[in-house]
Amino acid sequence: MVTKIRLAIVGVSALALALAAVAVQQATAPAPANAQDSAAQYPLLGVRAGVYNDGQAALWDLNITDHFRYFGPPARLRGYSPEQPIHFSHVIHVQQNKMECQYCHWSVSKASYAAIPEEETCMGCHGALVQGKSERGKKDIQYLKDMYAKNQPIPWQKVHVMPDYLKFNHKRHVKAGVTCQECHGQIPEMEQVERVSSMKMGWCISCHRQRGASIDCLVCHGHR
């Protein structure tokens, strides 16, 4: 009995001392000159070992409020793929017809927003030339033409819905060489666009840390 207790005491003490050693080492290590440098120091204890790469909460993540909030509205979740007013197929446009992303989403490199193209852009091809092969395609193109004639915008469903307090700048990411696929997934293979990344904070941060981008809060939470 007593030996067991002694063993336990020795074990716990050893663990505590190890922790203490890490703490002392960390405390005495020079503080990073700026936040960017801290990426190298990370992770210390693998505290995020249980967080999946895409930042979706691990089971042991006790963030109850997040669970409530993010497992509530599906529009905030990975896998959200709303039905669009037009069955726009990126497979046909991008994969088969080899269109560049920025042909339609031209503002990604110019502005914080990655705009949905104007109907005028669609009409460039679909106005006179391409009228669709399938029944559904024909119907959709007719719908586009009708809306264009009525001077009305097409009510696209937003796939990547972000909260208001997050100000994401597409331009800076595109100019920094982040490809569209890194966040949006293999869009060219999608018949209907789906949110493939959780796009939660941990997901953003892990990439920022990896690339040595700023992790100053205001970079994302101050402004666009």
């Binding site: 505290v47 006790l62 963030n63 409020t65 904070m201 941990g202 941060i205």
Partner: protein
């Protein structure tokens, strides 16, 4: 020890008598008890609905404003934490000091501690602008990779109050185990048998159990004693660590601890007088105990008064305009009533305890204890509210919009606390059976030998 002998005339003399007297309190409740319970529940309902309304409508339903960010809720928080202090003080500190008067009152004081911390702990959450994010104050791993700020006194509060609650609840429960076992062994109804059977954890009073138990109990007392001092010091740092004139003071930790003991003992008196009456505990809780508590009140009142005077002295001596203005403002400014109310209740009124007769005058003590409770509430209100109304920039001076929601939540807190107290006194022994038995001479055949042993052994070891 002489006192013990004096009071022996009235006090129960055998183990069986002690057991019977105390367990009698657990007999099926009467109408009065139900009335009390429902009153508490009613108050609690008022508080709960007030809080829900506040969340639903917006935090503006409380009376805070710019620049008074803290008000009644933090006052209540500090008040209840203060109340919570005397329990552990009486059970742990007085235990270590072998104070003779602690045994009959400590269980109640401990219960009061645990329930008061449970009450106090609600207020930091109630006072949050977004209480649904209260969890963010906890250092738990999360996908955001964010931790709380360990430099913030509010985070220290999280540590201090949660530790205090855990340890005092544990201490309280450990103390209860043998008593529950005693109750279990006398229980008659099925429900009580089951309740005590489970909560006594199968305690059997065996010699090995007693050995480890008494050793652990002493260690608990040793842990709880620095904890008592630390918790209210940490609470006082919520204020002392800031730069607000009237808050930024090094005297705050001892001042707050003394105030906490002061208010806590007063609250014990407030609770124990009706209890003593209702359950006819006059034989257990005697004038001797009241006399001792009165002396404690008198002493802490002195410390608190001294602290008040020191605050004023330092404000003058520091030659700091802002401090001086603040301490001129408190007694002579717009809210002078709160200051003078506090001074009367905490400094002047308790001085009557110098009169020996009043120290054992139960009605007087009851009234005095109520006044002290009010006075200590006002003290916290003065510190928090008055300091915030007059800070550095005169253009940003302001006032308070006292609201009914705050009153409701404050009342609700008393309901919450009262509910637990009421339930407790009917379901668990609110006077420590084993410890009372301990101070009795054990039944021995060989009197001389036994008595000699008792004289040196009021406590363990």
């Amino acid at each position: 020890m002489e006192h013990t002998n004096d009071s022996k005339k009235e006090a129960p003399v055998t183990y069986a008598e002690v057991n019977d007297t105390i367990l009698k309190m657990l007999e099926p409740p009467g109408r009065g008890w139900f009335l009390l319970l429902f009153t508490c529940l009613f108050f609690l309902a008022i508080g709960a609905s007030s809080w829900f309304y506040q969340i639903w409508s917006g935090f503006g339903e409380s009376g805070k404003s710019h620049p008074i960010g803290w008000g009644t809720y933090i006052t209540n928080f500090v008040f209840w934490v203060g109340i919570a202090h005397s329990g552990t003080l009486i059970s742990a500190v007085l235990y270590l000091f072998r104070a003779a008067f602690r045994q009959p009152i400590y269980r109640l004081a401990e219960a009061m501690t645990v329930f008061a911390v449970m009450t106090a702990g609600l207020f930091p959450i109630i006072h949050l602008g977004r209480p649904w994010y209260a969890l963010w104050l906890m250092p738990y791993p999360n996908q955001r990779a964010l931790w709380p700020n360990f430099r913030s006194p509010l985070l220290w509060d999280v540590f201090a109050v949660s530790t205090y609650f855990t340890i005092s609840a544990t201490f309280f429960f450990v103390g209860l185990i043998p008593d529950i076992a005693a109750a279990r062994d006398r229980a008659t109804t099925k429900f009580r048998k089951a309740l005590y059977g489970v909560t006594s954890l199968g305690w059997r009073n065996s010699h090995a159990q007693w050995k480890h138990y008494t050793a652990a109990y002493l260690i608990f007392a040793a842990f709880a004693t620095p904890l008592v001092v630390s918790v209210h010091s940490v609470v006082s740092w919520d204020f002392a660590m800031s730069i607000v004139p009237g808050w930024h003071a090094t005297i705050f930790p001892p001042y707050f601890v003394a105030g906490a003991i002061f208010s806590g003992v007063a609250m014990v008196v407030t609770l124990i007088i009706p209890l003593r009456k209702a359950f006819s505990l006059e034989r257990l809780i005697t004038p001797f105990h009241f006399d001792a508590m009165s002396k404690l009140i008198l002493m802490t009142s002195g410390v608190v008064t001294y602290s008040y005077i020191t605050e004023f002295y330092i404000a003058w001596f520091s030659n700091n305009d802002f401090e001086r203005f603040q301490f001129w403002f408190r007694p002579f400014g717009e809210f002078w009533m709160a200051f003078w109310g506090m001074t009367f209740c905490n400094c002047i009124f308790p001085q009557l305890l110098w009169i020996k007769k009043l120290r054992t005058n139960i009605p007087f003590l009851f009234v005095l204890s109520i006044f002290i409770n009010i006075g200590m509430w006002l003290e916290r209100f003065n510190i928090i509210f008055q300091s915030l109304t007059r800070e550095f920039i005169p253009a940003a001076w302001g006032g308070y919009n006292f609201s009914w929601i705050e009153v409701g939540i404050t009342v609700g807190a008393f309901g919450w606390f009262g509910m637990w107290m009421t339930l407790f006194i009917k379901f668990f022994p609110s006077v420590a059976i084993v410890e009372i038995k301990e101070i009795l001479p054990p039944p021995v055949r060989n009197e001389g030998h036994g008595h000699h042993q008792i004289a040196g052994n009021a406590g363990h070891h």
